[in-house]
Symmetry: C2
Subunit: 216 residues, 2 copies
C-alpha cells in the first residue's frame, strides 16, 4: 500500500511537471528531459509510468477532458431548460480552463494532436455528441428555431468554442476567453434562438457574461 501510494505520488508529480511545462513553453518544446528535471525524478521513474512523451500527453488529455466534461455536465440542472444549461455550461468551461492547469494543458493538447491521438479524437467526438444532444432537447423544448439542424448547430458552436480557445490562448494568454465566448454567443443567439425566447436568452447571456472568471 505504501509503495502504491508512493508510485501514485510519482505519477502525479510527472503529470504536474509536464502540465506546467506545456502551459509555459508549449508541448513541442517540453522535452522529457525538462519534465524529469522539473519533477526531480529519474528517467527510470518516468519510463516506469509512461513509455513515451505521447503516453504522457494522452494521460493529460484524458484527465483534462474529464475535468472539463464533468464541470460542463455539473453546470446543468435537470430542471433548467437545456439551452440555459448549454450557455451556462460553456462559461463554466472558460472558468475551468482559467483555473485548472491540467484542463488548460489538455485543451492545448487536443488541438496539437487532433486525429493523431485516439484520446484527443475521442474527446472531440464526445464534445460534439454532448452538444448535439442538448440542442435536440432545447429544440424539443421550443427554445430554438424549429428549422435549426442540431448537427449543424452543435458543430458550429463547438467550432466557435475551440477556435476561441486558440485565439484567446494565442493573442491574450487565455485571459479573455470568457469575453470571447460572450461575444460569439451574442452573435449566435439571434441565429439559433426562437424569436419568442430571444429576449430572455439575451438577458440570461448578459448575466453570465459579466460574472467574473474565478481566480486561477
Amino acid at each position: 500500500m505504501v509503495r502504491q501510494a508512493r508510485s501514485e505520488a510519482t505519477r502525479r508529480k510527472i503529470i504536474d511537471s509536464a502540465v506546467d511545462l506545456i502551459n509555459e513553453i508549449g508541448y513541442p518544446a517540453a522535452g522529457l528531459g525538462d519534465i524529469i528535471e522539473r519533477a526531480e525524478l529519474t528517467k527510470g521513474a518516468l519510463y516506469y509510468h509512461f513509455d513515451s512523451k505521447e503516453a504522457l500527453a494522452t494521460a493529460i488529455i484524458e484527465e483534462g477532458s474529464e475535468t472539463l466534461l464533468e464541470a460542463f455536465r455539473a453546470a446543468g440542472r435537470a430542471s433548467s431548460p437545456a439551452m440555459e444549461n448549454i450557455l451556462h455550461g460553456s462559461f463554466v468551461v472558460t472558468d475551468v480552463l482559467a483555473s485548472d492547469r491540467v484542463a488548460r494543458a489538455g485543451a492545448r493538447l487536443l488541438r496539437t494532436f487532433g486525429a493523431f491521438n485516439p484520446a484527443a479524437k475521442r474527446t472531440v467526438e464526445i464534445l460534439v455528441n454532448e452538444l448535439v444532444e442538448r440542442i435536440k432537447t432545447a429544440t424539443a423544448e421550443g427554445d430554438l428555431r424549429p428549422t435549426l439542424d442540431a448537427e449543424t448547430a452543435g458543430a458550429s458552436i463547438l467550432a466557435g468554442m475551440l477556435g476561441s480557445e486558440l485565439l484567446s490562448s494565442t493573442l491574450a494568454e487565455g485571459s479573455d476567453l470568457r469575453a470571447r465566448f460572450a461575444r460569439t454567443w451574442e452573435l449566435l443567439l439571434p441565429a439559433i434562438i426562437a424569436d419568442e425566447s430571444l429576449n430572455y436568452y439575451r438577458e440570461f447571456l448578459a448575466r453570465q457574461a459579466t460574472r467574473p472568471t474565478s481566480p486561477g
Copy 2:
C-alpha cells in the same frame, strides 16, 4: 549559382519531407530522424538549413500562411462588395487547405504552437486584422447590420473557421471542411447581414457551397 540552386533544392526537400510527415502522423510524432530519412539526406544537411525542429516548423508556418493569405486576397476583387470577397475567400481557403500540403501542414502547426511560435502568433494577428478590415468595409457598404461590431464579428468568424479546421481534420481527415464552412456561414448570415441583403447573400452562399472542392 549551381551550388546555390543545389542548396535551395535541399532546403525544399527537407521542407517537403517534414510537411508530408506532419500531414501523415502529426508534428509531435515527426522526428528529425524521420524527416532526414524521408528526404534521403544527412543530419548535417538538415542542420545547415534549420538549426532545430521548430526552425523547420517556422519555415512551414511562414510558407503555408503566405499561400493561404495570398489565395484569400486574390479571391477578392476590388469591384466586388467586401462581404462577397469574405465569403468567397473563405471557401478558397478550404480549397487551398485541400490541395496544398504546405498550407495544410502550416494550419496544423498554427494550432499546435499558438502563442509559443512568433510566426504562428503573427499569422493569427494578420488573419484577425484582415477580417476586421474587410468587415468594416462591408459595414460601410451597407451589407452588414449597422449594430455589428467589426472586432467581434471578425474574431468570431475567424474562431469558427479555425475551429472548423480542427473539427474537420480530427473527425473527417479534412474532407468536409467546405461543407462545415458552408453550414457555419448559413448560421452566421442572418446574425451579421443586413435584412435587405440577406436573400442575396443566402443565394451567393448556396452557389459557393455547392461548388466542388478542387482536386488535391
